[in-house]
Symmetry: C2
DNA sequence: CACACGCGTGGATACGTTTTCAAGCATCCC
DNA sequence: GGGATGCTTGAAAACGTATCCACGCGTGTG
């Protein structure tokens, strides 16, 4: 366990000043012979500049933060893969943290990143806009991926209860400072279009009582579902889980039991979809004879499932890649939001209304 | 974007020296009133000590490196989840990198971690022992998870070709320094026992022509397979993939086509298992009537598969958790290797030999 | 009463780097 | 030929922290 060589060691061994070493290594100007000598010595000593020293001096850290609700969800795995790919090409390390879909834990992790001086982050947010305001006010460059943080009820008076908010809405002109949206770009899948396609596909097959099984976040997907379904939406057919597998299963099972009349369900994510086929099987509902099933997010096992699942595919890896690019590529004015297309992949889990 | 408060700001605002602030915040001694005042000021300024400054001063970084071949593989997702869980409880950030099962990329990532002064790493190694020697010699505390690095052919003379190595071996006393095994602990699943159980289960069902479908690493699993199968092993029935999904599918498909006489296959990992059921389905082989299938590693979709897959479950999350614990918990003498149990979960993908 | 001792405190230093600044030197143009 | 200009170079400062050391003060002991 020998101690690492420092820039000072290199300078001494090469008979130059440390400033020269620094210049040579960061591509500054130097005479050819000096440069060559320094490079040779550095290589021979196996010198690696200390990122800590550099970061301290430059008052910023290289490095990209990555915040996801759950590393176990394969969608976030693909997203992380994309982030890692871009970060690697940019030579930046990425520090990963899981939030467990819990705003409080998310705040804690943001604090940790702040402490590490990680000033660029791609995040799949769990908390609302208020959770994130401290981060962007601290100068963090944050890029949201997959979903946006909920608009917080009110920035100035978090204690407000419903009546007050109604008043504010009725008023039209908010009394307190408006909860101006976070100044952060985002890269998302085209939820609306994806859900619309799914619903149209199902209605085209004759389905009328279609349920939506949603997780946390993705408000847009629910909205799109309501929208695509047309006017009278049976609110009982829209159920939510918290993000854990257990909760997803409970939601799916509860839905099937309380409303045996549903003929089709669209699952808002792969763990929801998994829960739905599990629950259906447990209740002896045949797919697609008894109930049709369509899932947002394509995963490898969708094809292996019985029956193979019809899905709305979304480019998880690309989402991560583009988000990392937005977070890391500084300089050019960044687009506010990029939306990536989804695709309906028809397999065998949807059938005509019986 | 206000600049962060430094320890100096806190000291001035509290009317004390920076040394006192540092002491108070790191639990040193101070008079109660001073302590209280400093804490109040720190809280009011929202002061966060800079990890960079601290790390530079202390010549080490908090932080845990995590190196996995592929974040997309759900097994590594669970492993990462465990690592994150322990790291969070220890208050340490984790920097993640994917190696793509490529030793060269792995070396690159090790270098990156070294540069970041990340001196503790849990790794699912891709390269051989030689790839890792620089890391441990640089003072890194590395804990291997899930698998061990291959013993490198020879440490001192990497250019050796076969004849020389034979000579060395015949000699009995190696000329160069012996390739002493890496001085690093590891936490592994009980591969041998798991595979043995799987093979016995299959032979108990009457199977004789059993194939093994392996990925990179996990030399122990193959060995155990040979061992459990008894003396004459048909080498054609042991095939390997490189770690990508495509390669796994090609291997599985090739196996089924070249040896239609196999009646059972054990897949050495979840992506191999996935590939096997895909390939079987593509070739119209019914599971388990035409071929029985057993997979190492339990995953959520195994139950959803048609038929539900019989698996050897391994505690991926625990592996990560324990590995992180070993890497982070300093002081106490660490065990050399911890082996976690596996469990046979019988579902429906194995039938009696037809 | 003098002395030692313990405790709380702050100044100074070092960690490894980048960057500024001025100096040394050769070259070029008028 | 002289001054200006360009290039290379090294000393020094700064980034934010932890820690060593010395100092002042109050208390207990000889």
């Amino acid at each position: 366990m020998e101690k690492r060589a420092t820039i000072k060691d290199v300078a001494e061994a090469a008979g130059v000043g440390i400033a020269t070493v620094s210049r040579v290594l960061s591509g500054g100007s130097a005479s050819p012979e000096t440069r060559e000598r320094v490079l040779a010595v550095a290589a021979q000593l196996d010198y690696r500049p200390s990122a800590t020293g550099r970061n301290l001096r430059q008052r910023r850290t290289g490095g990209l933060g990555l915040l996801v609700p759950d590393v176990t969800d394969t969608f976030f795995g693909r997203l992380a893969d994309g982030v890692l790919a871009y970060a690697r090409s940019a030579g930046e390390p990425v520090v990963l943290a899981a939030t467990g879909a819990d705003p409080e834990q998310e705040s804690e992790m943001i604090g940790m990143l702040l402490e590490q001086s990680v000033d660029r982050v791609v995040a799949v947010p769990a908390g609302d806009a208020e959770t994130w305001r401290p981060a962007v006010r601290a100068g963090m460059t944050v890029v949201f991926a997959d979903r946006l943080p909920l608009e917080s009820a009110d920035g100035a008076e978090p204690d407000d209860d419903a009546p007050d908010r109604d008043l504010l809405l009725l008023d039209g002109l908010p009394v307190a400072a408006p909860p101006r949206p976070l100044d952060a770009p985002a890269v998302l899948a085209d939820d609306r279009s994806g859900i619309r396609t799914a619903v149209r596909y199902l209605t085209g097959l004759g389905h009328r009582r279609i349920a939506y099984l949603g997780g946390p976040g993705h408000h847009g997907r629910v909205e799109a579902f309501r929208e695509a379904l047309g006017a009278p939406v049976d609110e009982e057919l829209i159920v939510f889980a918290t993000g854990t597998r257990d909760s997803a299963y409970a939601a799916a099972s509860g839905l099937f039991q309380s409303r045996p009349d549903v003929t089709a369900v669209v699952a808002g994510g792969n763990v929801l979809g998994e829960a739905a086929v599990l629950a259906a099987r447990e209740l002896d509902l045949r797919v697609p004879q008894d109930v049709s099933l369509i899932m947002f997010d394509d995963v490898p096992w969708a094809e292996l499932c019985s029956p193979p699942l019809t899905v709305i595919a979304q480019p998880g890896r690309d989402i991560g890649y583009r988000a990392a690019e937005l977070a890391l590529r500084t300089g050019a004015r960044r687009p506010r939001t990029v939306v990536l297309p989804t695709e309906l992949i028809v397999r065998a889990s949807c059938g005509p209304h019986r």
